[in-house]
Amino acid sequence: MPSETEPGLVRVLPCGERALLVEVADTLTAVALARQFDHLRAAGGPPWSDVHDVVTGERTVLVIAWRLTTMTELRPAIFESVSAARLPVRELGTGGGQTPEIVAPLEIPVVYDGPDLLDVAALTGLSPAQVVDAHTGAEWDVGFTGFAPGFAYLVGGDPRLVVPRRAEPRPRVAAGSVALAGPYSGIYPTDSPGGWQLIGRTEVTLWDLHRDPPAVLRPGMRVRFRNVGGPP
């Protein structure tokens, strides 16, 4: 099955009868595109009204529809949306201006006393205080989810904070742990195993099944961390 390539490095790949996978250049573009798709779903009308889930990946957006018949209309609609969006990558993150509908970032208070803070400092060549400044200094975008319910990959932070995962994952990481891995930051929504570098913790409850939506952090939102303690 050939894949279509659009200028702007967007490919729409087949994914069975009821889904299409839109591949883009990077996470920020995927976030922007997913946001565009969500707007179209909210606006209603075919074929977007038939889309039941939009799943942002690291470099992809998966669009899943109810009906097989939607698929023929969905492919051109995706391309139309891509052209209309003009992929506003530069309007996300800290690199440029903001789209008008963006609300103020959600502030998350963090005590920076994580067990890996010194390792992160060593890996980045920064002091622990500089790590905290870098982490709190930039706004992060909620990119995509995965790994566990409510776990959001935060993107668009300070590029100096790119660190590898820990060689040995921990069997248990406490809910609320604030962590770094690769170019991402994240907050463990529930107690779980985990291999990210833990730099702090927050009291904010990020995942509550009795709430709808259950996750505080949802793709397209923005986050700013605030230092309320540490480093020691």
């Binding site: 994914c15 009868e17 690291e58 989810t145 566990a148 319910p149 709808d212 259950p214 996750a215």
Partner: protein
């Protein structure tokens, strides 16, 4: 009188399932729901119930329940031989359970999952709009346990209008599943290996996925050491992990995955995949020859 099912025995695994929860993939929660959706939906239709009431998904029989109050039930999917107070009753045939009657399901001759539906539906608390037990995330009702009293809801208007549905039992021999191209088909060194290989269902299959064993599928040279950025996956997706043994995603599949999905099993065949037993032979074939 409170209507309920009292669990006398559970068999290997008895879970509450309905149509699952849609619209939460963006926060990392998958759909879940009945693994053989067609069998589950048939049960609801036979009882004349509104679509979406929760039922019990019984894996390899063994479930025994006692009726509290007067109940109408039906068993669909894998044809577990059923008895009421020791007397055999029909499969895919609504049956009345007077207060205190004991329904027992034996081992089905073929297939993996039977659905016990009851008029009024299983009435445990919904989580995110669904009573489905998601074995991957742990969201939804816990597996049924012996001694549990499972509440049954109020039946809707209407009721059974058919005595029996003459449906075929799940296949016992070789099962053929039809594929459509997946997003990462080009990662395979030889896509024909998917359909040329006689696969066997692995014992480690579960509601997350049917795992197939056979000669390892190898990646194309270009992708030999590549890491796939994590991306959304769909039910029926055929994922090929590093060991080359494909997994067909079922109801509790993860929302995203970091291994290539090379093909997707046709929606109608996902239900049949969910009925395949460990050790059963599986062949894959393309709906339309790719490329």
């Amino acid at each position: 009188m409170i209507r309920a099912l009292e669990v006398v025995a559970t068999g290997p695994l008895a879970l509450v399932e309905d149509l699952g929860r849609l619209g939460y993939a963006a926060v990392g929660v998958g759909r879940s729901g009945a693994a053989d959706r067609a069998a589950y939906l048939l049960a609801g239709r036979l009882l004349g119930e509104p679509v979406g009431r929760a039922a019990v998904e019984v894996t390899l029989g063994g479930l025994v329940v006692r009726a509290r109050g007067s109940l109408t039930v039906v068993v669909t999917g894998a044809a577990a031989p059923a008895t009421v107070d020791g007397r055999p009753v029909g499969h895919a045939a609504p049956v009345h359970l007077p207060d205190g009657a004991v329904l027992a399901l034996g081992m089905p001759p073929t297939g993996l999952r039977s659905y016990l539906a009851v008029r009024g539906g299983i009435d445990l608390d919904p989580v995110l709009g669904s009573r489905s037990s998601d074995t991957l995330s742990g969201i939804g009702p816990a597996p049924l346990r012996v001694g549990q009293v499972v509440p049954v809801g109020e039946p809707g208007a209407g009721g059974p209008t058919m005595d029996v549905a003459p449906v075929a039992a799940p296949e016992g021999g070789r099962v053929e599943l039809t594929l459509l191209p997946g997003p990462r088909l080009d990662w395979l060194a030889d896509p024909r290996a998917l359909t040329a290989t006689p696969w066997t269902v692995s014992g480690s299959s579960d509601r997350v996925g049917m795992r197939l064993t056979g000669p390892a599928l190898s990646r194309g040279e270009r992708w030999a050491d590549a890491e796939l950025p994590s991306e959304g996956v769909v039910v029926g997706g055929v994922q090929v992990p590093a060991d080359g043994q494909p997994i067909v995603f079922l109801a509790d599949h993860p929302v995203t995955g970091g291994y290539p999905v090379v093909a997707v099993v046709r929606a109608a065949d996902v239900d049949r995949a969910a009925q395949c037993r460990p050790g059963q032979d599986v062949r894959l074939r393309w709906a339309v020859a790719p490329r």
